[in-house]
């Protein structure tokens, strides 16, 4: 059984509100931002529970073989360890499954930022023929036949299952997947023993002008949420941000991902092409020294000793929120 709620990812405080119990994400440390909740989809216990049920339910896919959780495993910070994830009929997706921890804080969803609000994100996997492959109309009709879904849906949104209910409920559940409890978080809150000396060395490297990682992966989420070309390829099969903006200057730009939990979300990059953190660091080292066309100027030329690499990897691994993976 998956038990993301039993794991203490978040503590929910419930207050009685009209249309359901309004829940707040309360154990966020001071240094962590509160997510913005859209006015038409206030977080209520009923909505989160309905979304959670859907997240784990394979009947949300055409042939009832794939659930959201098939690709987003709680014990891997909601990733699946594969370069590309299989969807229905064993079809392969086109991008690497990202963590969805803290997705509530992401302004433009997906690696190309194509989805403008989390409340519409669930349509992507549900309708993608390589993922769950079912039209949202068909799925609404299917869930409307299930008395339990009908009851829960009415309690949560005052209407039977519909595209609106499905997308909003799933977004409500995703909004509760907060990760703010890594050793790094303890360290910046004042516990100087939370990081080992090696990890502290790695932190200094990561934050140094020499490596310049924080020009993109800066701040408490380790991302500026910008779209950047980090020099993975000279010519990109997946055009990334340009698919959305139609601007050829955006080819090969992907949203800078958060590095929280990065120690448990291998493989890396939009296509899962880098197997481990060492390969990632080697990539930045190589492409910094011989930059590719279109690559961001923020990527510096540097070279690291093997000890420095180990320290950097140690630091990145200290960004894992141990609380929910156990």
């Amino acid at each position: 059984m998956w038990r993301p709620f039993g794991l203490g990812i978040i503590i929910l405080v419930m207050l009685l509100g009209c249309g359901g119990d309004v829940v707040y994400i309360s154990n966020l440390p001071n240094h962590f931002p509160q997510p913005t909740i859209p006015p038409d989809n206030k977080l209520t216990r009923q909505r989160v529970e309905l979304g959670k049920k859907m997240f784990f339910d394979k009947s949300l896919s055409l042939d009832s073989t794939i659930a959201c959780v098939s690709c987003h495993h709680p014990d891997k910070a909601f990733t699946d360890g594969l370069a590309l994830s299989p969807g229905i009929h064993g079809r392969k997706g086109k991008r690497n499954t990202p963590s969805i921890m803290n997705a509530a804080l992401v302004p433009l969803i997906n690696k190309d930022g194509g989805v403008k609000k989390l409340d519409l994100q669930a349509l992507v996997p549900i309708e993608d023929e390589n993922e769950m492959g079912i039209s949202i109309l068909h799925l609404s009709q299917r869930l409307a036949q299930d008395p339990v879904y009908v009851k829960q849906s009415r309690e949560a949104y005052g209407m039977p299952p519909s595209a609106y209910v499905i997308t909003r409920a799933l977004a409500s559940f995703v909004r509760t997947l907060y990760s703010s409890n890594s050793r790094y978080d303890h360290f910046i809150q004042g516990d100087s023993t939370a990081l080992t000396s090696r990890e502290k060395m790695g932190k200094a490297l990561f934050e140094s002008d020499r490596l310049n990682c924080t020009s993109c992966h800066g701040g408490i989420q380790f991302t500026n949420h910008a779209f950047e070309n980090n020099g993975l390829y000279t010519s990109y099969v997946d055009l990334g941000r340009a698919l959305i903006t139609l601007d050829s200057a955006d080819r090969g730009k992907f949203r800078v991902p958060s590095l929280r939990n990065v120690g448990i979300t291998a493989p890396y990059m939009h296509d899962g092409s880098l197997a481990n953190l060492e390969e990632v660091i080697n990539h930045y080292e190589d492409t910094g020294i011989s930059p590719k066309k279109g690559q961001s100027k923020k990527i510096e030329a540097f070279s690291l000793s093997s000890e420095e690499k180990e320290s950097l990897i140690a630091f990145l691994s200290a960004l894992t929120d141990e609380q929910f993976i156990n």
Binding site: K117, L123, V124, I136, I244
Partner: protein, 247 residues
């Protein structure tokens, strides 16, 4: 009968705003306009699933739709019939009735666009999931929303082609235009006579013209961003593929 029009549960455009019409004692004759979509392949009525020859390729279609909005008709007498807050979903045999009393005066020009205006397309507050099923901008089957790029498909043409010439249409093709840059404006100035009583305006969409210069054996799909040059050519072809005339 040259053109079959299938009447299908029309989208009712209720009472258009109409500023300068004062009731007169002797009621003059009034006109009413309906829009009818005539989707065709070089003049032959389009039937889904039927094989056609276009640019030397055998092709059949399983979804052909587009949005039409921003409609403004200017009459000879200077009256502007402003329907710009309404959307029509163009589809095989779709009709929409404009249920209002119009002065009998010929239409001198007609403006509209194929697509969805940038504000509506942005889906910021209201989006396709929050619209009622009767709204053409609500969720459609086949779908007219994009999931991976929040917004509408302005136009979709999906089908299958026969690549190896064995008579079997084995390869799927999909041409989906969307994003603000794909909005296609029309400003037609061919006069259209408006008589008293019912007037059927035919919006004709010819797929052979839509695919002018497109090799259906090689150019198998565009979802706009993944093949922008093809999307732009198809958008530009709309200028010759769509015609509006009186029945």
């Amino acid at each position: 009968m040259k053109k079959h029009i299938f009447f299908f549960c029309g989208i009712l455009l209720a009472g258009i705003p109409f500023s300068s019409c004062k009731k007169e004692s002797s009621e003059p004759a009034k006109a009413k306009i309906s829009f009818e979509f005539d989707f065709n392949v070089a003049g032959d009525e389009l039937k889904l699933g039927q094989a056609y020859q276009i640019n030397g390729t055998t092709v059949s279609f399983d979804a052909v739709n587009f949005y039409m909005g921003g409609i403004q008709l200017t009459q000879e007498n200077g009256q502007v019939i402003d329907l710009s807050d309404q959307y029509l979903l163009g589809g095989i045999g779709n009709t929409a009735t404009l249920n209002s009393d119009l002065d009998v005066s010929d239409i001198n020009s007609m403006k509209f666009f194929v697509g969805v205006d940038p504000v509506t397309n942005a889906q910021e507050e209201i989006d396709f999931t929050s619209r009622p099923p009767t709204d053409p901008l609500g969720i459609q089957d086949p779908s007219m929303h994009w999931s991976w790029s929040t917004g509408y498909k302005f136009l979709r043409v999906d089908g299958d082609v026969d690549l190896d010439g064995d008579g079997i249409l084995e390869t799927g093709v999909a041409y989906h235009l969307g994003s603000d840059a794909m909005l296609k404006q029309f400003d037609l100035t061919n006069p259209i006579e408006l008589r008293s009583g019912d007037n059927d305006l035919i919006i004709s969409f010819d797929l052979t013209k839509f695919f002018t210069g497109v090799d259906l054996k090689a150019e198998l799909d565009t979802h706009t961003g993944n093949n922008l040059p093809l999307a732009e050519r198809l958008r530009d072809n709309l200028a010759i593929a769509i015609e509006v005339y009186r029945n």
